[in-house]
């Protein structure tokens, strides 16, 4: 029941906003903040109750939803089933944690049509939480698609100048990806005779290899667009740049994680054999994304676009860690999902604050801000270091786990990825220098106000979290350990079986022979 409340409370909050007068903005904001805070508190309760030694889904909630009529065989009952395991609970927490911050930060940049904005934000929270908590394939798909709609409006109404272009591009990329997944979902449900996620994880590998391969590819395509994995990344820079700050934070912080979460949950976990077969492809694309994203970021002149490109690079690490499929690389990948949410969220918030003051994001419009805005500079440097992976901060732990895990199974791609760490330091530090240090060239920059209390208040929780994960990541890793070890064990067993099978020439499957 707790998980159900966490999921639908934002929806109820959105409904509560509907009858309120659009002019009473502080009341509207108060209701939204209260709702998101309540959800955050509930999710903390969930976190403390969560048993990290168990690998299966907990906090289960399930009611029958409707029945799919299967031709011939038994009808397939669908359930409104929710539950979290070690992987999804981290992402649920990340979402519920970011939301109050997003709502509070929106005070600065959303002044028109506040009511609609808050309604869309709350609806989006329900959608995002549903994606991570759904234990039924159809329910997952519904949440996965439905969470797009609020973001579409958030970017389209409150976005920048080229927002219409960005929203349409974003939406069409997403829908094209997920419709292919829809065919995969249908094929999977009829193949398994069940739509339940635990059943899929349990018995997914029992389907014929050909069947598994097509389903894997259908899902992988949808998630690759969402992550985005190079070459599907072109929507990202536009959507990020045009989105209002809150939209960017949610997009980077949570929405992209649906892609990496999906890859782990629907591609790697149920179909380890296929994942091993296509592993090299994804490793290469992940490493390519790390380097290419970093190079793209170096070339940007717009600060927000730069962060968007750095997201491509950072998510390359996550993809690398996922498809290296060792116990430590998986841990690193899941932790890095959270880390990216924190540090990129912080970066977007900071850039948003700068934009509210100067109405530009071009790098050459700044310089020497450290002298004018010391508090801002402090937060900015901290965030950049966290994003660049300075030891002692959160980014380091994730990247280190990913790289050390990847060295075990794919040393070459790990080596390529390490160059990405260096490139990351280059573009992040260069842009910091250009924004913060040196002389104050432009007149306008001399009078900028430093961060106010509200702004510091939105940043501090994330900064604290970044420090905490950097110094003591174990409480976070411990909750995910059992779930991830189960996946890693299974992959190991499959790998061993494939290696054995590969010795016998009898194996006729092209994937297996390609593996040698």
């Amino acid at each position: 029941m707790l998980l159900l409340w966490i999921t639908i409370l934002p929806l109820l909050g959105a409904l509560a906003l509907v009858p309120l007068s659009p002019r009473r903005t502080s009341l509207l904001r108060g209701v939204a903040v209260a709702t998101t805070l309540a959800v955050a508190v509930l999710s903390l309760v969930l976190w403390t109750r969560f048993d990290g030694t168990r690998a299966d889904a907990q906090a289960l909630f399930s009611v029958p939803w409707f029945t799919l009529f299967a031709q011939g065989g038994a009808p397939v009952p669908l359930h409104f089933a929710l539950g979290v395991d070690g992987i999804s609970i981290l992402l649920v927490l990340l979402t519920t944690f970011l939301m109050p911050i997003v709502v509070v930060s929106s005070v600065g940049h959303v002044t028109e049509r506040v009511k609609e904005f808050l309604i869309w934000l709350l609806l989006m929270e329900t959608g995002m939480l549903g994606v991570f908590a759904a234990l039924d394939l159809v329910l997952f798909y519904v949440f996965f698609e439905a969470s797009l709609v609020p973001l579409y409006f958030i970017v389209g109404i409150w976005g920048g100048e080229r927002r219409l272009y960005a929203t349409i591009k974003f939406f069409l990329f997403m829908v094209a990806g997920s419709l292919v997944m829809l065919v995969g979902v249908i094929a999977l449900i009829y193949g398994l005779g069940s739509a339940s996620l635990p059943v899929l994880i349990e018995r997914g590998a029992e389907l014929s290899l050909e069947h598994q391969r097509w389903i894997f590819l259908a899902f992988a395509l949808a998630f690759a667009v969402k992550v985005p994995i190079v070459p599907f990344h072109t929507w990202l820079a536009d959507a990020h740049t045009e989105a209002p700050t809150s939209g960017s934070v949610l997009l980077a912080g949570v929405l992209l994680k649906m892609g990496t979460y999906g890859l782990l949950r629907f591609c790697i976990q149920p179909f380890p054999e296929i994942a091993l077969g296509y592993g090299p492809v994804f490793l290469a694309l992940g490493a390519l994304g790390i380097v290419y994203g970093a190079l793209l970021a170096m070339a940007q002149t717009d600060l927000k676009r730069l962060i968007a490109c750095s997201s491509v690079s950072h998510l390359g690490f996550v993809v690398l860690g996922l498809f290296a499929m060792t116990s430590s690389s998986l841990r690193g990948a899941v932790l890095q999902m959270v880390n990216h949410g924190i540090s990129t969220g912080l970066l977007f918030l900071l850039v948003g604050m700068l934009y509210e003051r100067r109405h530009t994001r071009l790098l050459d419009r700044f310089g020497g801000l450290a002298a004018v805005m010391p508090v801002f500079a402090l937060f900015f440097v901290f965030t950049v270091l966290s994003s660049a992976g300075l030891p002692g901060l959160n980014g380091f732990v994730g990247e280190y786990l990913i790289l050390s895990g990847t060295f075990q199974s794919a040393p070459f791609w790990a080596a390529v990825a390490v160059t990405g760490v260096v490139l990351g330091a280059i573009y992040l530090l260069t842009s910091t220098r250009r924004v913060l240090f040196g002389p104050v060239i432009l007149e306008e920059n001399k009078q900028l106000a430093d961060l106010g209390k509200r702004e510091v208040g939105t940043l501090l929780p994330l900064v604290a979290l970044a420090l905490w994960i950097g110094v003591q990541p174990n409480p976070f890793l411990a909750k995910t350990a059992a779930s991830l070890d189960r996946i890693a064990d299974r992959v190991e067993r499959t790998r061993a079986a494939l290696d054995l099978g590969a010795l016998e020439p009898a194996s006729s499957d092209p994937l297996v022979s390609a593996k040698e």
Partner: protein, 487 residues
């Protein structure tokens, strides 16, 4: 057995099975007479809306009673009419579509309401026609249903005689519609010549590879495709839909399609040879593609919805092809009813909202004229957005689950490439639905443009609310609608 004595028809109707099967139709027929009577007697005129609603409710009651029966009557009256759970479910759809379209038509004519009684009576006879089509066990009964639906629609399309586009729509629809009726009659005649019977079940058993019966089936199919508005018989749709009074367009778009499809799936499917499945699937895909491409280019909302209706007809036709390829009859039927139900509420709501906006002083049917609607009329914009998202098949709406069921059926019929092509073609549709959403929410109102005002009776708002709730309910709680279908 042929009944010679004309009065024996009353004996036939008094059999309990036949009585139950035909009760909804008889109720509607009585309602039509009552409406016409009210029109003549001045004193009774204020009663007209109550007669209309009452008739529909009584008919609905009979349909629900049929749905609730453990063993439905099946073929009655010498097998000329069939009443099953499926036809009852279709009947419920027809009646709800008629009722909603009627609710939107109240107060639609700005120039006072001449011939209101005739208008309502014509709408009710459309419903009779649809029910006869869905339940026809005999080609002649089907033809009677077809004409009972079409002729009132010709008249309704041209109902705004002072608008030349309305008259044009009526004439166009009449000419092409009678052409398609002629095709049907010719096909039926050829089938009769070849097999000596008009009963569909007998024909299904007898249909052979002879040229005569093959051409007959093809002609019958062509006339049905015309009604469904499938390629290559779709070209009349945009002009007729745009010109007709909008509530009539809503009825035309949902009712005609539903009735023809109901006949195709419930009764006529066995007539079609299995090897035609691929051809029908191809026609369906072309229909979807043409509908979506056409809609992309439209500047007029009604025309865009007309093209989108063509695309939806294509999706429904995929079901027919799946059925021909051997998909389970029951599963196909349910998928069709669900899809059509979701489409009916969505499209009626969308056309209804257009009718609401356009009759507010000036004609708000150009997409551009909806600019900034979200600010001036947030609820209308919200409902319209919901309908458009449902038409586009976004989850949490009925449109999504409808698509889901259709493609699931197609996949089960082992036509995976067809399903994938259909799915990809439907991405195209989102581009134009979203354009309208963008205009309503993300663009400021045009300078000096008249702001739509609310002058319409409560019924239209109520109908919109009902449609919106049903679109959401079909999307979120489909069990409510599916469980009556699996008794």
């Amino acid at each position: 057995m042929i009944r010679q004595d004309p009065y024996s028809v009353f004996d036939a109707l008094s059999e309990p099975a036949a009585g139950a099967a035909t009760a909804p139709i008889l109720a509607l027929a009585l309602g039509v007479l009552a409406l016409l009577l009210c029109e003549v007697i001045d004193l009774l005129r204020p009663l007209r809306p109550f007669v209309f609603v009452g008739t529909v409710l009584v008919a609905l009651f009979f349909e629900f009673r049929l749905l609730g029966q453990a063993i439905p009557p099946g073929p009655v009256l010498d097998g000329t009419f069939v009443a099953s759970h499926d036809t009852a479910a279709w009947g419920v759809l027809f009646l709800s579509g008629t009722l909603l379209a009627w609710a939107y038509s109240l107060g639609y004519q700005p120039e006072g309401e001449p011939f209101r009684g005739e208008h309502d009576a014509l709408m009710l006879s459309c419903a009779i026609g649809m029910m006869l089509m869905a339940g026809a066990g005999d080609l002649i009964v089907f033809f009677v249903g077809l004409e009972l639906l079409s002729i009132p629609l010709y008249a309704l399309a041209a109902f705004q005689r002072w608008r030349s586009t309305s008259v044009e729509a009526g004439i166009k629809y009449f000419l092409l519609g009678s052409f398609s009726s002629a095709l049907f009659l010719f096909g039926a005649a050829l089938l009769y010549t070849a097999h000596g019977t008009l009963s569909i079940s007998a024909l299904a058993a007898a249909v052979s590879g002879s040229n005569l019966s093959r051409i007959g089936v093809a002609l019958v199919a062509a006339s049905l495709f015309f009604k469904v508005s499938a390629f290559p018989f779709h070209t009349w749709v945009p002009d007729v839909y745009q010109g007709s009074p909008t509530p009539v367009t809503a009825l035309m778009a949902t009712g005609t399609k539903a009735a023809a499809l109901a006949f195709l799936l419930t009764q006529a499917a066995p007539l079609f040879p299995e090897r035609g499945a691929l051809l029908v699937a191809l026609l369906a895909l072309v229909t979807i593609a043409l509908g979506n491409l056409g809609a992309l280019a439209q500047e007029d909302l009604k025309r865009m919805l007309a093209y989108s209706g063509i695309a939806h007809a294509g999706t429904l036709l995929l079901l027919v092809s799946a059925r021909m390829a051997g998909a389970d009859a029951e599963a196909t039927q349910r998928a069709a009813i669900f899809y059509m139900g979701a489409y009916l509420f969505t499209a009626t709501g969308a056309f209804g909202l257009v009718s609401l906006l356009e009759s507010d002083g000036s004609r708000f049917t150009r997409i551009d004229s909806l600019r900034g609607l979200a600010r001036s009329r947030p609820f209308a914009a919200g409902a319209m957005t919901l309908f458009l998202l449902s038409l586009g098949g976004i989850p949490a709406t009925g449109g999504f689950l409808g698509k889901w069921f259709v493609f699931a059926t197609v996949v089960r019929a082992e036509m995976v490439p067809v399903a994938v092509a259909g799915v990809l073609l439907s991405v195209l549709a989102l581009a134009y639905y979203l354009r309208v959403v963008v205009v309503m929410w993300m663009q400021p109102p045009a300078e000096g443009a008249p702001v739509p005002a609310t002058t319409r009776p409560l019924t239209a708002g109520l109908a919109t609310g009902v449609c919106a709730v049903l679109v959401l309910a079909t999307g979120l709680l489909p069990a409510l609608f599916l469980s009556p279908l699996n008794p």
